[in-house]
């Protein structure tokens, strides 16, 4: 009967055809025509996060209307096709993960005497020509990947900044199986191997390549593909199919000289846009990367080693110098090739067609800092959105050292209002609570500024004022000033001056109380206190991190309280001024909720961090559920009765009159109503938590200060669309002109947003012969004019003009190609390269 029911139902389903898409399918993606009025905060009224780990249900759950959003990316081709074909579902793409082949370069022989062909760099380099990255992206990943050749992710800003070099190297290492075969034959012969009946034999034994193949995802197919290629070249291939744990014991923990594997199908993930990838070379290609045995057998070219080290410690004085070093390191990393980069994987982020939000280019919805500010129905204001997460409340939440799981952090980001927010498409930072800011750096530091909301100044010397706070004296409960600690004066490499919005201290916490300066000062003192071995809040796990912070921290001072202006001094430098500011600008946290946790930890009942909780055999503090709540509630009663203010000697000076009593009273009401202590200031407040039922409910915070459409300009990544046109045939005495039109949504791309429109001219053999910049002619159009001498220098034959356009609005560069042929000026005449034109060409030939 059971089988009969199933069969009948399945047959009925087959006959009934596809499930009709809900009416919402036809709704527009944007909020065109929807009046938000004077609405503040979020554009929806309620967000429900519910656990759903089965990605196979994505399409059905969204189509049935029970869920509107899946925060987990889809990289499975079958599921993706289902989503793509559904009228009721849309998706955004995130590019944060990548796949590669990790090679084992130990040798020249393994411990058992076998030769390791991949000890030879040229053998490794040859694999770049052997693999067809386009095939991997389009066939093995079903289109959910883009080819990647280099050590830098194709979606991050460094790739766009180095687009010309990147494109040159990509062309140099494009799929060329014959070249791979020739290189491998040459190197294998040099190693003393010979082909016997089509199989490579060394010292009487067939050369066997062991491929450690991850079985968890598409990398299984990559492993099989590479295995087939190597078998085709005459190698014996052993395929070791392993899940993550088993594989890690072999490739990370194992001794590479043991020879248990030659190739591992590796993968890497980044959940945020990394604007500076200059340490990739040290990390991926040198023994400095990690202490594990595999990294310790890396023997890069000395020039690569030096460049990698210098880039990692930012040992350059100008941006141009950095770019030159990056370019050279990219080139050398390709000849080293301990890794063969294959693809950047695309994760489709599905959502209902009538729902939209901003997705991070690297981290997707889960990594988006703007999701709470932009989540909306496209056809109305308000409403309820159900978001599926693969896991939630994975670990206890507390505001000091609570859960760091990506999806827990996603929910928390919706509850808090940061002072700066990262651009989801460039990784740069925009002000949220800052009215003005200045970043001062020593004049020999290669720091750049992209956005104009802050000011970058260069100074010969940055002196830290004597009244700046530099440390906390726990015994005396007071700040230690720079003047006391450094009577001879102190300098720093950077100074950040932040002026908060004028009404910053008038904003409200979710429990209705008003923000005060103590909310800025108490969290800072707490950080110092947790690193003080004499304190009852001391946490050895935090000490390690704090020590790093103190290596570059040079002080902080409150310059003005109305408006609030804060100065911070530090030796830590990032290439972007926006990143320096984001790392320094202090945020606020409600001191009265922190106080309860501090009391509980001081009493030895709970601990902020997991490590300390385990050491003391107490519960890891949770502000939202579980046994912690009763303890925190008791401390609330006590604090309310005693009027407890943490670090009162300092903090009371920053309190309003009656603030402590008002705060604790509001918190008491809050807890009575919501049964948790998570009070914040974001566009949503935490309405209810259902840990066993695996759901969390957020509701709109109506007192949020900003208009609900403040961040809607980040609705989609402004990836430029290019159209390159020009003559197909060019005589060697002609000066051809090519037209480049850059658009977005069929409208001209603003010239001010174009960072660079560079062209590269390749001859028929793929050699870079010329590079330069296109010039704007207005209306989104650009012009490239080549001189007759430059054309003559190409000789006759097919050529390719490649254009790489980078935008300040998105880190993803756009490329276009125009092929044209050069012919002799007169019939029968073969053009010779002109000396002058030859001097204009750049780039080494392969």
């Amino acid at each position: 009967m059971a089988l009969a029911i199933v069969v009948v139902a399945v047959v009925a389903w087959r006959w009934s055809g596809d499930t009709p898409a809900p009416d919402v399918a036809a709704a527009p993606a944007a909020m065109a025509g929807v009046d938000i009025g004077d609405r503040r905060g979020a554009l929806v009224d309620q967000v429900v996060f519910a656990q759903e780990s089965d990605l196979g249900k994505v399409a059905e759950l969204i189509e049935s209307g029970t869920h509107q959003l899946f925060a987990q990316g889809v990289s499975n081709a079958t599921v993706f096709r289902r989503i793509r074909d559904s009228l009721g579902i849309r998706y955004s793409n995130a590019f944060g993960s990548s796949a590669e082949l990790t090679l084992n370069p130990a040798g020249p022989r393994f411990n058992d005497g076998r030769i390791n062909p991949f000890h030879v760099p040229a053998m490794r380099e040859a694999l770049n020509w052997l693999v067809d990255r386009r095939y991997v992206a389009e066939e093995l990943y079903g289109g959910l990947a883009v080819p990647r050749t280099l050590a830098i992710n194709t979606v991050f800003p460094d790739y766009a900044r180095l687009a010309e070099v990147a494109r040159t190297l990509e062309l140099r290492y494009q799929h060329d199986p014959e070249r791979a075969r020739a290189a491998i034959e040459r190197e294998m012969t040099a190693l003393g191997a010979a082909r016997v009946n089509g199989t490579w034999v060394h010292e009487g034994a067939p050369v066997r390549i062991s491929i450690l193949i991850r079985t968890d995802d598409q990398r299984r197919r990559i492993g099989d593909y590479v295995g087939n290629l190597l078998e085709g070249l005459g190698f014996e291939v052993e395929r070791l199919y392993r899940a993550a744990d088993e594989a890690s014991r072999i490739w990370i923990a194992g001794d590479p000289a043991a020879g248990r594997w030659h190739i591992y199908t590796g993968g890497w993930v980044s959940t945020l846009i990394q604007r500076d990838l200059s340490d990739n070379f040290a990390y991926y290609y040198t023994p400095l990367g990690r202490p594990e045995p595999l990294w310790q057998v890396y023997r890069p070219d000395p020039e690569l080693q030096t460049l990698a080290e210098r880039l990692q410690r930012a040992d350059y004085t100008t941006w141009d110098e950095r770019q030159a070093m990056m370019s050279r390191a990219l080139e050398l990393s390709m000849t080293d090739s301990v890794r063969i980069w294959l693809v950047d994987v695309v994760n489709a982020q599905p959502h209902a067609a009538n729902v939209d939000l901003t997705s991070d280019l690297a981290g997707g919805f889960g990594g988006s800092a703007l999701w709470a500010y932009t989540l909306r129905y496209t056809d109305r204001v308000g409403g309820n959105v159900v978001v599926a997460l693969p896991t939630l409340i994975a670990e206890p939440w507390n505001p000091v050292a609570g859960s760091n799981w990506i999806f827990d952090r996603m929910i928390m980001r919706g509850l808090t209002d940061a002072v700066v927010l990262p651009d989801p498409y460039t990784g740069l930072f925009w002000p949220q609570r800052i009215a003005a800011a200045e970043v001062a750096v020593q004049d020999d530091l290669p720091v750049i500024q992209t956005l104009d909301w802050l000011t970058l100044v260069r100074e010969r010397e940055i002196v830290v004022p004597a009244d700046t706070w530099i440390a906390w004296d726990g015994a005396a409960s007071r700040w230690i000033s720079v003047g006391e600690r450094h009577p001879d004066g102190l300098t720093a490499r950077t100074r950040v001056t932040v002026r908060y919005e004028d009404d910053f201290l008038e904003h409200r916490w979710h429990d209705g109380t008003q923000v005060s300066l103590a909310d800025l000062v108490v969290p800072m003192i707490l950080a110092f206190d947790r690193a003080d071995p004499e304190s009852r809040l001391y946490d050895p796990a935090f000490q390690l991190v704090f020590d790093v912070f103190m290596q570059h921290f040079k002080g902080m001072r409150i310059v003005s309280e109305a408006p609030l202006v804060v100065e911070l001094y530090s030796d830590q430098v990032y290439p972007d001024a926006e990143a320096i500011l984001a790392a320094r600008a202090p945020a606020v946290a409600p001191w009265h909720t922190l106080a309860l946790g501090m009391l509980a930890e001081r009493q030895g009942e709970l601990a902020f961090s997991s490590n300390k909780a385990d050491r003391n055999e107490v519960d890891w503090m949770s502000y939202i559920a579980g046994p912690s709540l009763a303890i925190l509630a008791r401390h609330l009663s006590e604090a309310r009765a005693s009027g407890f203010v943490p670090y009162a000697e300092v903090a009371e000076r920053y309190l309003r009159e009656g603030e402590a009593a008002a705060r604790y009273a509001a918190l008491g009401d809050w807890y009575s109503e919501r049964r948790h202590f998570w009070v914040d200031n974001g566009p949503f407040y935490l309405h209810s938590v259902h840990p066993v039922e695996r759901s969390v409910v957020l509701r709109r915070f109506t007192d949020f200060p900003d208009r609900a459409d403040k961040w809607l300009r980040f609705d989609r990544p402004r990836i430029p669309a290019l159209e390159l046109d020009g003559p197909m045939i060019v005589r060697s005495d002609e000066a051809p002109e090519f037209e480049l039109c850059i658009t977005f949504d069929d409208a001209p791309y603003p010239e001010a947003d174009i960072e660079r429109a560079a062209y590269l001219l390749f001859d028929g053999r793929g050699r870079l012969r010329l590079e330069g910049e296109a010039e704007s002619v207005g209306d989104g159009c650009w012009r490239i004019v080549l001189a007759a001498e430059q054309i003559a220098a190409l000789g006759t034959g097919a050529n390719s003009l490649e254009v790489a356009v980078t935008s300040v609005r998105v880190s993803l560069p756009a490329f276009a190609t125009h092929a044209f042929a050069t012919v002799a000026a007169q019939a029968g005449q073969v053009t010779q390269p002109a000396q002058a034109a030859q001097a204009a060409t750049t780039g080494p030939t392969p």
């Binding site: 009967m1 059971a2 139902a9 059905e60 796990a541 390690l544 579980g626 695996r694």
Partner: protein, 371 residues
């Protein structure tokens, strides 16, 4: 156990009986305790692959911390050797926290000693949903969901199959009997297999029922609506378990009853013209009570642990999905706790069944008097 040869009389006889009972109890409990101890220690060894999991966990710890440090912009400008020192420091803290610096054999006996005392201790990686690290809290939190779902399904299957089997045993060879026999092989497929189809049909093609979870999100605030929502969410998983078990269960009980229904004393009762309901209750059901009770008791303790895949398919927050997570985390205390509780429950049930047999079946006596 064995049947007594002859019943003694007088005070000395009662003392001898008592002595036999005490001796039997001690021997039985000792044997069961030994069995539990061996079972739990084997679990400890297997869950840790004889200690090899330590190496794996250290690799995982190192990778996780190295990746986290590298991804943290606060450490971006650190020289690599300092960054590695930072990573190493954090790794060592984790190793000490998880006692991976101690030999596995020492830890294995600590685990065993704790487990046998039912001191479930603290989890190493996991937390209860509400945030407690105590293993008992982690398990207790998930227990109601499992008991509710699997209790409902198993009670339904058990009692339905008993009564249908009794009914069929009276109608041996009827059309319904033949249908049940024909459908019995359908139980070869597990509950989760039916679950997938049921979700497809009743949640997606005809969206009448929720595809998973224990209650709607967000959970209703009033109790009645909450209970109704839970019931609604139970329909598909209970249905899946029911479908996968009912036919084989009816078939086996029906066969069992048929065998007993052909006993001479039943034939005699029929010959005497007793009503069939009386024959079923007094002559078939009563003598077969011990195996029924055994089956029922084992079903009850079988509720412990839930079903990993079924709970995953239905996103049900029970002990099965907890075990799944614990195995994924290699959280030895949680894995051991799940096993040791089951082992103790099984041992106690087996012991109690010995006693219950003696009460239910006059032919069975405690004490092994026949030896």
């Amino acid at each position: 156990m064995s049947e007594g040869a002859a019943l003694p009389s007088g005070r000395s006889g009662r003392l001898r009986d008592l002595r036999r009972i005490v001796l039997f109890t001690l021997l039985r409990l000792g044997g069961l305790l030994l069995t539990v101890t061996i079972g739990v220690y084997l679990t400890i060894l297997i869950a840790n692959m004889g200690g090899q999991v330590d190496e794996l966990r250290i690799v995982q710890i190192r990778s996780t911390i190295a990746d986290a440090v590298r991804a943290n912009p606060a450490f971006a400008a650190m020289p690599l050797d300092e960054r590695q020192a930072l990573v190493e420091g954090q790794v060592q803290q984790e190793i000490v926290r998880l006692r991976l610096d101690q030999p596995f054999i020492q830890r294995s006996f600590d685990y065993l000693w704790q487990a046998m005392r039912l001191d479930l201790g603290r989890a190493e990686q996991m937390h209860s949903d509400s945030g407690s690290r105590e293993v008992s809290a982690i398990i207790v939190e998930r227990l109601p969901a499992t008991l509710l779902l699997f209790g409902t399904a198993n009670f339904l299957v058990f009692f339905t199959s008993i009564f249908v089997a009794l009914y069929l045993s009276r109608r041996y060879g009827s059309l319904l009997d033949r249908i049940v026999i024909a459908l019995a092989p359908s139980s070869a497929a597990p509950g989760w297999f039916y679950g997938i189809f049921l979700i497809l049909i009743f949640a997606f093609i005809y969206p009448w029922l929720p595809p998973g979870g224990m209650v709607q999100a967000p959970p209703p605030e009033d109790r009645l609506t909450y209970a109704l929502s839970v019931l609604q969410h139970m329909v598909l998983p209970v249905g899946a378990m029911f479908l996968s078990s009912i036919f084989i269960s009816i078939y086996s009980w029906r066969t069992f009853f048929l065998i007993h229904a052909s006993e001479d004393y039943v034939e005699m009762a029929r010959a005497k013209g007793l009503p069939s309901s009386q024959i079923e209750l007094r002559y078939v059901l009563r003598p077969t009570l011990p195996p029924i009770v055994t089956s029922f008791a084992l079903m009850l303790i079988g509720l412990w642990g839930g079903a990993i895949i079924l709970e995953q398919v239905f996103n049900w927050p029970g002990l099965g999905s907890l075990a799944f997570r614990a195995i994924g985390f290699r959280d030895t205390p949680v894995i051991i706790a799940s096993v040791v509780i089951f082992a103790y429950l099984l041992a106690i049930t087996v012991f109690l069944l010995d006693v219950i047999y003696a009460l239910l079946d006059p032919r069975v006596k405690l004490g092994g008097g026949g030896r």
